[in-house]
Symmetry: C2
Subunit: 404 residues, 2 copies
DNA sequence: GCAGTTTGTTTAGTTGCGGCACAAACTCAG
DNA sequence: CTGAGTTTGTGCCGCAACTAAACAAACTGC
């Protein structure tokens, strides 16, 4: 009986079924009071009250009973629901080309503590991840808070279900590094409680922006961002990250945006990847690119500080046109209701929002789908917050089970 | 109290929660017995039995208690669950460039009855839809079966939430025709019971293939198909059609697949739309294209019957290469776990499957995501069956509520 | 000060479903 | 042919999550 292969689904989840959805509403700031919870969950006031009480008993939320805490227009004022400040936290880590960073993130995407981090990384994934996890463990020890799990953001695609980093183009890691396994091992050895998760940084940034930033309430959120080199994409559908069947979706860098463009390592030419990244911008503006790990800052500074320079402006407009063409292609395929841009793309949007929106509307097939709002990302450390979201997810799905 | 704006969610669905999932399992042929139902739903045998009894009482399924109906390996044989032959049906209608068609479709995608249909259509949507709905009503009257609703497949994008046909390129309908409203009105006036739905034909074909055809069990199913002109796409995610935020997703025809290609009405050049459709094939093969509404047949016949002709073969290989490039682009963005091709693309796949698979694998970024299975569609009248799926959906979601 | 409105809580009643025991229908070994 | 083993189907009990309804509380406005 125990050697038997159990079948697909096994949902023995008893207990309050609305507990998870309720927590998610508080987590994303969409349920300020028990009254809202009642209507939003479609349950009776009795049930909503019981659910809130249970979440409070779990130490996750706080019911602010102080009088006048939520003065409404009429009738009895409702008590305010808020995430508990001294509640559990998720451990978040991020590795990128110019270093790593660690943080503790509470419910609601609240940054509880951050470590200054390191500004250079080595070619050994195990060493880098080990160091950042040590930072995490130190933060956690100092805070004295309970931990629900850990999340790591890496600047490469993460293959499912193996959890290997596939294209560490920007950092000198070996292809196929078992980042998930390495991270999970480090987390366990550091004595950090809870499960460990790993994801791509742009994906996690998108998730964070959807829950707590410029992507709130969007049903079909598309994010596009540059690092120092290349372009990354992410899609959040109905509140869940869409990573495709093996984690490799939204590899948007190889849409053709310039038929006469420069050749790309993918075999094509004029790809979004090589036409709209910081290196492309610096080259187009006639500047000498600095070291690899500072291209993003160099190009962003150039765009913000020297936009009056005709060469800079012309280069920016060229990139905006190319980016718009790429976004239009994505709009035709994904039909999002919001687009969020990060990195240099965000700076390009800030430089001339009208031009970018016009190109997207012009080059997407339907005017209406091309008029999708295009916004800059708004969250600090969004990849870190997104990494924490991974760790929070089991709690959001089943608070009782995860905190048992 | 009644003028009040009710809030978002209102789930007062009482009753058996597993009723819908259970029906869906039988509908898609994944639950042949109550024992399978038990494990698949993750409930006890008692509950699964009660659920099956309730579905039988609703007249939707049949429990075959005849001895030996499901001889297993060991233990007590289980009774077979099947859709009831004389159960309710959905009314399905399809309009395309070379005519229209009507059918009745039972659970499990079973074609109960079909009308021969018409081979030409007029420029007035209301007239065409009225005629095909009349055919539907006649079929339904003759059958004497109960009707759960109606679905219509049209060869154009359908904008949400208005239900307007946006690009009737292939049929001479006015842009922005209110096809959903027209269809719903016709259905009501014809005395056909239940709600009426309208969708794009390629989307509905994909849905049908996912439920009953070559797309079974796929989590991320991508479909690409040609009509007479242009290319359509569809994506089924976790069993649900992904139509984007306003119904305009998967407009895949304007991926660039040939930088030096012919200009496209979208403003670009070398788009999938103009490089891989039947007209492109006939032109490349040096044949004179016949009338618009027979391009698909003409090109398919040419490909199947004259593949030995060097000009035909060369043209086919060129189209396969372009199609492969387009599919690779989609693979990079969507990372599907299965691809299904229809129309001329299906014929191209049949002609040289190895070449197509090789191109996709070569031009997609990750070998592993490029090795996705590419299959021909297998279902007859898949758009019709898909249209019926729309009408069945409310029943699958909540059998008790929909058949109350 | 009282009516009106909205929120929170208590109580009782309903019901879906897990757990369990038992019956039923088959295979296989001897 | 018989009995042990295995899997499926069903009846019964009890838990607990939920709704419904009544009541209490806290505000506004006249």
């Amino acid at each position: 009986m125990n050697g038997k292969v159990t079948t697909t689904r096994t949902k023995l989840e008893r207990g309050r079924s609305a507990l998870g959805p309720a927590l998610e509403l508080v987590h994303t700031g969409r349920a300020p009071t028990r009254a809202v919870l009642t209507s939003e969950l479609g349950v009776t006031r009795a049930t909503a009250g019981a659910v809130a009480a249970e979440l409070e008993a779990l130490g996750l939320i706080r019911v602010d009973s102080s009088p006048g805490s939520a003065a409404g227009s009429q009738g009895r004022p409702s008590h305010r629901l808020a995430v508990r400040e001294s509640g559990p936290v998720a451990v978040a880590a991020q590795v990128h080309a110019d270093g790593f960073r660690a943080a503790l993130v509470g419910l609601g995407g609240r940054l509880v503590a951050t470590a200054p981090g390191c500004t250079t990384i080595t070619a050994d994934p195990a060493q880098v991840i080990g160091e950042v996890v040590d930072d995490c463990a130190r933060l956690l020890r100092d805070s004295g808070l309970r931990c629900v799990g850990a999340g790591l953001a890496v600047p490469s695609a993460v293959a499912e279900p193996e959890g290997t980093a596939l294209n560490p183009l920007h950092i000198a890691w070996p292809a196929g590094a078992q980042v998930r396994e390495i991270f999970a091992t480090c987390v366990r050895e550091a004595g950090i409680e809870g499960p460990a998760f790993t994801g791509n940084d742009v994906n996690l940034a998108a998730l964070a922006e959807h829950r707590h930033g410029a992507g709130r309430e969007a049903q079909h959120l598309l994010c596009v961002a540059t690092g120092h080199r290349g372009v990354g994409g992410a899609l959040v559908l109905d509140g869940r990250l869409h990573t495709g069947s093996s984690g490799l979706a939204l590899e948007v860098g190889h849409l053709t945006v310039n038929p006469e463009g420069r050749p790309c390592h993918c075999g094509g030419r004029g790809c979004l990847d090589v036409e709209t990244d910081p290196l492309a911008f610096l080259t187009a503006a006639g500047r000498t690119p600095g070291p690899e790990e500072s291209l993003l800052k160099q190009s962003g500074d150039l765009l913000r500080n020297e936009y009056e320079d005709p060469a800079v402006r012309t280069a920016a407009e060229e990139l905006i046109d190319r980016l718009g063409l790429g976004l239009a292609g994505l709009v035709n395929i994904l039909n999002p209701d919001r687009i969020i841009l990060g990195g240099l793309h965000r700076a390009l949007l800030d430089a001339d929002p009208e031009r970018l929106r016009a190109v997207v509307a012009d080059r997407s097939l339907w005017g209406r789908s091309g008029s999708v709002p295009i916004l800059p990302c708004t969250l600090d450390h969004n990849s870190l917050v997104g990494a924490a979201e991974l760790a929070w997810q089991p709690v959001l799905d089943d608070p009782l089970g995860a905190l048992a």
